[in-house]
């Protein structure tokens, strides 16, 4: 396994009870991971969400995610907190100047087609405010 640090974007889903544990603390301290939290909604006694980037060696990330799972927290690496519905998107491009990371972009200025790259998305929610067609939505 490589020792080069890599970055993974994760979405954690907390069923009601598990929100008390200092997860981020353990990820940093025990697994030497760098954490960048994009968005969180963690309220005691309710289900919660946390969207974050973890940076570290592949092995540490694996161990860290195992630790999270052992607490009964679900990790979703595919379904991120922000969804772009390709069919609802009218390809207008209004969101593009408001997206700070180019997650929503127009790579080909001849066809002017909009592309969404979920890896780039930091879930700032700017696009939701400006999309006239309700094509982007937040899971929480």
């Amino acid at each position: 396994m490589s020792t080069e640090p890599i970055t993974r974007k994760l979405m954690l889903y907390f069923p009601e009870c598990e929100t008390e544990k200092p997860i981020v603390y353990h990820l940093v301290k025990d697994y030497d991971l760098i954490i960048n939290i994009f968005r969180a909604r963690v309220t005691p006694e309710e289900e919660g969400y946390l969207v974050l980037d973890v940076t570290g060696t592949e092995e540490h990330i694996l161990q860290g995610t195992e630790f999270i799972r052992s607490l009964g927290i679900r990790i979703d690496a595919v379904n991120k907190g922000l969804a772009w519905d390709e069919n609802k998107c009218a390809q207008c491009g209004s969101c593009v100047p408001h997206c700070p990371t180019n997650a929503l972009s127009i790579p080909d200025r001849n066809t002017m087609e909009i592309v969404f790259n979920t890896e780039e998305c930091i879930e700032c929610l700017s696009c939701i405010k400006v999309c006239p067609f309700a094509a982007v939505s937040s899971l929480f």
Binding site: C92, S94, V96, V130, P132
Partner: protein
């Protein structure tokens, strides 16, 4: 050189040469105007963008006992019932009842007339609630039911104003963000909003309305509709640039078509934060290539089409007439424009990629003989300007 009948004969026999307004540019570059004009029969143009001035007429047929509707709501969106007993008019910008609008600024405007129209075309169920004072022959006073577009006798779209020939580019020079129908504008001109399909746009390819007039058959969201009149605010007397292409609002078209034949992809409700609701509709218009001059008009390209940059924080609302500068659609489509040495990010509201798609669909429909061209029954006015509101002084 060619007339509509000859072109239609070629279309019917499947031999017509049809290019999109994008393809024709390179084609003429390669073949030369003279030869291309002999070959090309039709150029397809298109646009897809918010057009507030839209609505539809619905006829419900009669309930038992009968009712003369005097007030009616579709999914809680108020309609105009002062038409006839069971005819209603639904406007695209009408808000749903109890929408807080901008009382909680900026309002979200999630649902309105445009969204009801989208649901109708998508075949979804819509609720009708109607009230009446009751008459001897129309005794029913209240009705609540659901229906789909298939249950209606007619559902006819009308756009009193569509296909704006060109449009403003909006910026905000103030210190606070503003919400406009051209989108969210950050303070100090950080971004701009525009709305035109540029080189694909119908009236930019026929700037003097030679082939597009009253009666012209158009592709309206998939249905074969037509131009029924000049559009509201039609003001062709304006500043014109390369090939006579207007660099401001200018001409408009009034369109109508059968919503039962429309495609849901091209009839979409629009929510503009802080502004209101609207409707985006896809339109395609074929331009018959009657001669070299007509072909030349269709070769107009984004870099030659200019639009005026207007300050929507002061000059637009105050009607000062001040223009900050002018930019080309090539610049706008690149994602940023330069104004007074300042880089401004650009975002569209009309969809160029949908316009491309429509121009391609119409091209196929003409090639396969399903869509024939028409000669206008009356021309659009070529000289006329827009008057401001006359406010009587008391």
């Amino acid at each position: 050189m060619k007339n509509i009948e000859q072109i239609n004969d070629k279309i019917s026999s499947g031999k017509a040469v049809v290019l999109t307004a994008e393809e024709v540019i390179d084609y003429v570059d390669k073949k030369g105007l003279d030869q291309a004009a002999r070959e090309v029969d039709v150029v397809t143009t298109a646009t897809f963008g918010p057009m507030c001035s839209s609505g539809c007429f619905l006829n419900f047929g009669h309930s038992k006992p009968k009712m003369r509707m005097t007030e009616a709501w579709l999914d809680d969106v108020s309609t105009y019932a002062g038409v006839a007993a069971v005819d209603l008019f639904l406007g695209a910008t009408q808000l749903q009842a109890n929408d807080p609008a901008n009382r909680d600024y900026p309002g979200d405007f999630r649902f309105g007339g445009g969204h009801v129209m989208e649901k109708l075309v998508a075949g979804e169920e819509v609720q009708l609630f109607a009230l009446s004072y009751g008459t001897d022959e129309y005794p029913l006073k209240e009705l609540r039911t659901t229906f789909t577009i298939n249950d209606l006798n007619q559902c006819i779209m009308v756009n009193p104003r569509n296909c704006y020939q060109n449009y403003n580019v909006a910026v905000n020079t103030s210190d606070r963000p503003i919400h406009t129908y051209l989108g969210y504008l950050k303070p100090q001109m950080k971004n701009c909003g525009y709305s035109s399909a540029g080189q694909l746009s119908p009236l930019l390819n026929d700037p003097f309305y030679r082939t597009i007039g009253v009666g012209t058959r158009v592709w309206l969201a998939g249905a074969q509709g037509h131009v029924y009149s000049e559009g509201t605010q039609h003001s062709p007397t304006c500043e014109r640039g390369h090939l006579g292409v207007p660099s401001e609002g200018a001409g408009t078209l009034a369109l109508t078509g059968d919503m039962k034949k429309m495609l849901p992809e091209f009839v979409r409700g629009v929510s503009l934060k802080g502004y209101g609701v609207s409707l985006s509709v896809g339109v395609g218009i074929p331009i018959p290539i009657l001669d070299e001059q007509m072909l030349l008009q269709t070769t107009v390209r984004d870099r030659d089409i200019m639009a005026q940059v207007i300050d929507y924080s002061t000059d637009y609302p105050e009607r000062t007439g001040r223009v900050l500068g002018s930019v080309s659609y090539e610049e706008l489509k690149s994602g940023s424009i330069m104004l007074d040495g300042k880089k401004i990010e650009a975002g569209g509201l009309s969809s160029y990629s949908k316009a491309r798609k429509i121009a391609g669909i119409l091209q196929e429909e003409i090639r396969s003989g399903q869509f024939l061209l028409t000669r206008p029954i009356a021309p659009l006015p070529l000289e006329q300007s827009m008057k401001p509101l006359k406010e009587a002084s008391s």
